[in-house]
Symmetry: C2
């Protein structure tokens, strides 16, 4: 065995982001993730965000979220399509979907049906509000989960509205939690032989990130938490600072760290300044504290400031942009950023696995073309002949 999830078969009905981000993690861990896609267009994320939609070329969006998976086409609305799906479920370990609540049942492939087909199946879903509770039928995109999960309310500057994170965080954090649940269920199945249902809601998972903020909430007697931009509620320095070419951030929690910072920027004179006596006092003198730092950072580039300060033990990081991330030497050395050769897009730099296992190394590969693995999967998994497969194509079932 070379991979953590070697031999684990995942039937992946997910689309767009919330589900695909989960199954790409399972694929990175070595599971055989088989996307089961609508024969007409497949995962809607393939073309929805593609600037080459007219040519039918998969979007970067799709490629980033579906590395290391295989793809088969199958019409789940077709009666024979459903039967084929059930045949696959018999051989599979995990089924994942991010359809709206009730869609799988309507298709006739809900958990109640699939557990009869294979009692060992682990049936996982991610939705905006989960499969039960008064909001379960409310439509929910990522921005909605960021609002109703509470994250927007504590993010951003006070003069602006509550602020959304600039990526699909509800999708991403929900997906990662779903992967935890699936693997927990997989371990339980090793002991009991039984599958089960796993579900997460994006709202719950966004809220789950607010655990530390509830400290400030309760300490403040349950008053609303003010949005404070990049500052913390109480202590300083903890902020973003201008440089010649962008920003760095610096976060200092203790006096030894503060004194070290003053030394490395040549401001030992400020060590005895009573305005900077401790984190809370610096917090009440936050403008003086921040000015002292920005006076130094504003004369340097962000990477110069980061490498110099961090190299001397100051918690300082540059605000990196999308290009800088793809070329960052640290991310490159860690393999988090890697090159692939895509059949339609050519050489492309993409993101690899954020999870590193010493005995389950993973090379990031391509996202599959639509139906790329029809022949090999249908033959090896459920024993269909070339003729069977050709006939299904004719009938537009695959």
């Amino acid at each position: 065995m070379q991979k953590a999830l070697e031999g684990v078969k995942v039937l992946d009905l997910t689309q767009f982001e919330a589900g695909t981000t989960c199954t790409v993690l399972l694929a990175f861990l070595g599971a055989d993730v088989i996307k089961v896609e609508n024969p007409v267009g497949g995962d809607l994320g393939r073309l929805s965000f593609s600037e080459r939609r007219d040519e039918g070329v998969d979007s970067y969006y799709f490629i980033f979220l579906n590395a290391n998976k295989r793809s088969v086409t199958l019409d789940l609305k077709n009666k024979k399509g459903k039967e084929i799906f059930k045949d696959m479920v018999k051989k599979a370990d995990i089924v994942v979907n991010n359809f709206t609540v009730g869609t799988m049942d309507k298709l006739g492939v809900g958990y109640d049906v699939l557990k009869e087909v294979n009692p060992k199946i682990i049936y996982a879903s991610i939705t905006g509000y989960g499969t039960y509770g008064p909001y379960k039928d409310y439509p929910c995109f990522d921005i909605v989960a960021q609002a109703t999960g509470g994250l927007m309310g504590v993010t951003g500057y006070p003069e602006n509205p509550p602020t959304k994170v600039g990526t699909g965080l509800g999708d991403s954090i929900g997906a990662t939690n779903l992967a935890v649940g699936i693997l927990g269920a997989l371990y339980q199945r090793e002991k009991t032989g039984e599958g089960q249902e796993v579900e997460v809601s994006m709202q719950d998972c966004i809220l789950n990130t607010l655990r530390p903020v509830y400290n400030f909430y309760y300490v403040g007697g349950g008053q609303p938490i003010a949005r404070t931009g990049n500052k913390t509620k109480m202590i300083a320095p903890w902020n973003s600072y201008k440089t010649t070419d962008g920003y760095v951030v610096i976060g200092i929690l203790t006096n030894p760290l503060w004194e070290n910072l003053l030394k490395v920027i040549g401001r030992e004179d400020a060590i005895s300044d009573p305005r900077f006596a401790d984190p809370l006092t610096r917090g009440t003198n936050v403008e003086a504290t921040d000015s002292l730092i920005e006076e130094w950072t504003s004369k340097r580039s962000k990477m110069e400031a980061m490498n110099y300060l961090a190299g001397k033990g100051v918690p300082c990081g540059a605000v990196l942009d999308m290009t800088e991330l793809l070329n960052n030497p640290h991310l490159r050395e860690r393999g988090m950023v890697s090159e692939i050769e895509h059949p339609e897009r050519g050489k492309l730099t993409i993101l690899a696995s954020p999870i590193k296992l010493s005995k389950s190394e993973v090379e990031v590969g391509c996202a599959p073309l639509l139906g790329e693995h029809n022949e090999e999967v249908y033959a090896s998994m459920i024993g269909l002949s070339k003729e069977d497969i050709a006939k299904m194509k004719e009938e537009k079932i695959i």
Copy 2:
């Protein structure tokens, strides 16, 4: 077996947030998570953020991040303490830490040592930049990971600096990815009998959330991604809207959803308006699009707007504040918000597990007091007698 991870023993050396958020998920899944804490004060998060520090009362911060765990004290700098730890490792499945790189080795309990003690041990760590790569020794708090992982660069309003998410997101998303890695390794061990090392960096895990944004980056020819507040880069409506008591967000991706919105707010007249013909055209007329919506929302409360619109199929959510979240009927019914009775804090409303497994239900419980489980753990796990334990207390090893 009643829990997914029943019988799985985790030795939890984590402190503050990044590690504890991982192990609380494992505890919610039913693992026996034993915090191994410094006899003097324990996990630094217990008191660092406590407003009742002088009384030695655990912070809400600690309580939210350490539910359902047990606690023992142990001085890992003491020679006998190290031996006791190794005896525990022989009986454990997983060791998790979030110390800076090299600390575990310096303590003499790094992976090289522990894998000799127990080759089946899964040894997991979360750090700012990971255990290898050029930045590995750079200090990194959450704000630094949010900057160097690229999330700040795409979050916030263009007139403000790149904006930090208002919670410890690098900690939280890193921790969740670490849990995925640990459970992947646990499954692999079921097949091979061997443990391994698992690691994540907060920077990698923050970057991993940017997969979808890379679509816009590549489609834009590699130009920097502008920060656009709550709007998307291209289409409308996708924004926050004022109400009488705060904000709602609305996200509309397709024309059918747009037409439905217009109908339910009584603006069928705008369906034929050429400024609103499709998502991209609405995006170029974003002010007119947003005004039309805000004219309606600004006369209603946020919950009134949300319940009415979402009930009629419009993806709309209220920006909920910390109090509203704790009292939200949906989160209550899902058990995501629950009451506990804490020995020092009394009745307290906290967050429960975001992961729901049908055959591994979890009641959220208390975070342990420091050393609360010394007697039971040391007796049952490594067979120490009451006398042994009393002697260790005298020697200040526990």
